[in-house]
Symmetry: C2
Subunit: 213 residues, 2 copies
Amino acid sequence: MKLYGYFRSSAAYRVRIALNLKGLAYEQVAVNLVNGEQRGEDNLDRHPQGLVPTLETEDGTRLTQSLAICEYLDERYLETPLLPADAEGRARVRALAQMIACEIHPLNNLKVLKYLTGDLGLGEDAKLAWYRHWIRDGFEALEVMLASSPATGTFCHGDAPTLADACLIPQVFNARRFECDLSDYPTLRRIAEHCDTLEAFQQAAPSVQPDAR
Amino acid sequence: MKLYGYFRSSAAYRVRIALNLKGLAYEQVAVNLVNGEQRGEDNLDRHPQGLVPTLETEDGTRLTQSLAICEYLDERYLETPLLPADAEGRARVRALAQMIACEIHPLNNLKVLKYLTGDLGLGEDAKLAWYRHWIRDGFEALEVMLASSPATGTFCHGDAPTLADACLIPQVFNARRFECDLSDYPTLRRIAEHCDTLEAFQQAAPSVQPDAR
């Protein structure tokens, strides 16, 4: 399999975690988001949105959207499931993943930050305030969801990593990169620290990717 | 089952379509987003993010996040599947759904528009330009995805409605509400027109909900 991604892309980072958790081999191809390679013809051909990641499967099928890719991997490669076995548990893990992927990350990705500073002419302070506002809005709710539920374990759901952790860790990484204060989210931090001890997460980290700079 | 929603919420609209497609009975409880009822204690208790929808199942389990709810319904009620049978088809439908739910809708929902006009002090024109920018950004890519793929049929995927259509129709409804020009998206419009002929979609429309005003 071939993963077209970028070392600092949250969405690509999620897929790397999923692939690593499942022990699947993959080749990485870098699409440099800062140089605008995502809008180049090659990338648009494989990803009409001009984004990353794209996963090319062994038969050449190209898959987009990180959560859809993770679900595909989970259906095709049954070992080390990324979702629990029960329907309620699966709904909870998907909801936690979507709280990040549909509520926090979309507001803070590169193209949105560019619109704020470009089209809207915001300064660096207003951009950072925007970024931190949506992290706080999402992390506060996540902390409540996780701290108040008996389903939370050493990971977001029970004692094995799931799709929810594969979304949480890249979002925590990015929050730290933008120097967000995480002191109000002890459960998130505890889970993140635990994930950091696992090789699957360590080897998915932006700093150790081939295109890291 | 009980659906806590709001007539004009895209996310609640998606779940109504899914419930209707599956022929499932449900009671609706309105949470008035304009009056701020979503931030009230009752709603925060059932949905820590202070959002809608929440689906309360027959055993009292409360589920949040519209796509997670739809997947749950699809797993629990097998009749009229919302996802295709093959893994590649499922990945495609989920990707189309997520292009809307993770890329377009999060940028244009009520709390974001409020931040733009409140915290950032933008005027009505700049707010509308923001709204239409993200509709265009997402719909252009969706149109390419749909128009270029042999997997597209009378619906987003083949000739039966799926989760992708349950996401597309509310987004088209909202785009029209904000008077976005949809002339460049003939495939989206064709699919939307076809969905509009089906009772499951008609009965999920905002205008016919009990709390519509």
